[in-house]
């Protein structure tokens, strides 16, 4: 997910935007309460999608309120939370920790090591609370690291590892009737996000000689924007699973994210890019 699975604000109604923003505020509150102030530095909007989807499917009790916070001292903000907010806070913390650890190993980045130390004990708490999901995350990230380091020529390999991670993230009740649908949904969404990121970074990865999963199939001249068809297949797979879930609550908001919001960074990246003259 990581910054791609967000809403398209320009197409939200006022009510939908308020519901989305207050879900995010609830997540921020929960992070502070359960994982300490440092955990909030790594807050992402993507986790809001996870909360909205699981809350829509299982309709747990929600608590809500309004408060001022440090980041917005002037204006009080609405928030709401459900049991899935707590889960999303744990996943946000665990993923931030794994990622910082990975960055530190890759680049020997001392700043990252400081972050990892900051998060370490909190991530441990998340891992103890959700050992199954965190186990899958760890194994998937280890596999992904190996694939990227060896610069695998099979374009799907890294995306499949990342897809496995994302698939498990959406499975809160592993024995539930919808567990497999959620896992397939998350898998395809994860693949989509992985390749979307790769398309946006293709040019800069080439320049810096970094691994990019499209490099194996992209001819020299190909640019990130040439892969819209590939990306559509993957988000199509995800949405096919999504639409079989019996969701009602926040359905239009969730659709806004999946049918429009997920393309925001891609469209922005390639609209800004200078057009090459035709030969």
């Amino acid at each position: 997910m990581f910054g791609y699975v967000t809403a398209d604000a320009s197409r939200l109604t006022r009510e939908q935007a308020a519901r989305y923003q207050s879900c995010y505020c609830g997540l921020c509150r929960t992070l502070r309460r359960e994982y300490g102030p440092a955990a909030r530095f790594f807050l992402t909007y993507d986790m809001t999608f996870l909360i909205l989807l699981l809350s829509s499917l299982y309709e747990p009790d929600e608590s809500a309120g309004r408060e001022r916070c440090l980041a917005h001292p002037a204006k009080p903000h609405d928030w709401w939370e459900s049991s899935f907010t707590s889960y999303a806070a744990a996943m946000n913390t665990a993923l931030a920790w794994y990622k910082c650890l990975d960055d530190w190993h890759d680049d020997r980045n001392l700043l990252r090591r400081a972050d990892a130390a900051l998060l370490g004990s909190q991530a441990e708490k998340a891992r103890n609370a959700y050992p199954r999901v965190c186990g899958v995350i760890e194994r998937s990230l280890a596999a992904l690291g190996e694939i990227e380091r060896s610069a695998s020529p099979a374009p799907d390999e890294g995306a499949n590892a990342f897809g496995n991670l994302m698939g498990e993230l959406f499975v809160y009740y592993p024995d539930d009737r919808w567990a497999d649908t959620l896992r397939r949904f998350g898998f395809s969404l994860g693949k989509f996000v992985y390749f979307l990121d790769a398309a946006c970074d293709l040019e800069s990865d080439r320049q810096r000689g970094r691994y990019n999963p499209f490099a194996a199939i992209a001819p020299e001249k190909a640019r990130g924007e040439d892969f819209a068809g590939h990306l559509t297949l993957l988000i199509g797979d995800a949405v096919r699973e999504f639409e079989t879930l019996p969701l009602l609550q926040d359905l239009e908001l969730l659709r806004n994210i999946l049918y429009s919001g997920v393309w925001a960074k891609y469209n922005f990246t390639f609209r800004q890019a200078p057009k090459e003259a035709n030969p």
């Binding site: 807050l43 992402t44 680049d107 499949n160 199939i217 297949l233 009602l248 922005f268 609209r271």
Partner: protein, 211 residues
């Protein structure tokens, strides 16, 4: 197979998607095993409701439009005859594909040197990779097969099959009036102090991005 899945959900045939979701949720709440522990009738009702919902959401497939996940099982058998002069490996790979042994098919195809790879080779590789979850490579390969032999109906059909979820996505985008977003307009107010940290955390992995 249920004769009339809509009736099981208390609906008229052709009820809207929203009505189906509403009816399913209401009935599932009523008959859920957690609400009716040890009640065999409730358990049977729950099974029927689930089966009816699944049937409406995923209508039984005809052989011309097989389900993705097993996309080529139905019609593949009818299509293929060996071509003259093709390498033994391609012939063998076709048998593996027919037997749905896709990993074997790929192993066999790999033995064909790159310069001998025909449209048929790319077609068989595309089917195998798609079935093994290698969607992006499978898509590349079917495009290649179609480019090499644009008149081949089987290749075109396979391409349509591989693209079917993506095509459905485009149609739904139109129906819901979503035409893609622009990041410059979609920023929510992320807390600024945290933004700085998030930017620092960006690397080659799908990173912590902010718009």
């Amino acid at each position: 197979m249920i004769d009339d899945p809509y009736r099981v959900l208390g609906l008229k045939p052709g009820a809207s998607d929203e009505e189906v979701r509403k009816a399913y949720r209401a009935l599932a709440k009523k008959y859920h095993p957690d609400m009716n522990p040890g009640d065999a009738h409730a358990a049977e009702m729950m099974n029927q409701i689930n089966a009816a919902y699944d049937q409406i959401k995923n209508p039984p497939q005809t052989t011309t439009r097989p389900d993705y996940g097993d996309p080529f099982a139905g019609w593949y058998r009818q299509q293929q005859t060996s071509q003259d002069g093709e390498p033994d490996a391609v012939r063998a790979a076709r048998s593996w594909v027919r037997a749905q042994e896709f990993a074997e098919a790929l192993r066999t195809l790999e033995t064909v040197p790159e310069h001998q790879r025909t449209a048929e080779w790319y077609y068989l590789a595309a089917i195998s990779n798609t079935n093994l979850g290698n969607r992006v490579l499978g898509y590349e390969q079917i495009n290649r097969a179609c480019a090499m032999d644009p008149d081949n109906g089987a290749y075109r059909m396979a391409k349509e099959q591989i693209e079917s979820n993506g095509s459905a996505y485009h149609r739904a985008q139109q129906d819901f009036h979503f035409n893609g977003a622009d990041a410059s307009k979609v920023c929510f107010s992320a807390c600024i102090a945290y933004n700085v940290f998030n930017c620092l955390c960006r690397t080659g992995l799908p990173g912590f991005y902010w718009c």
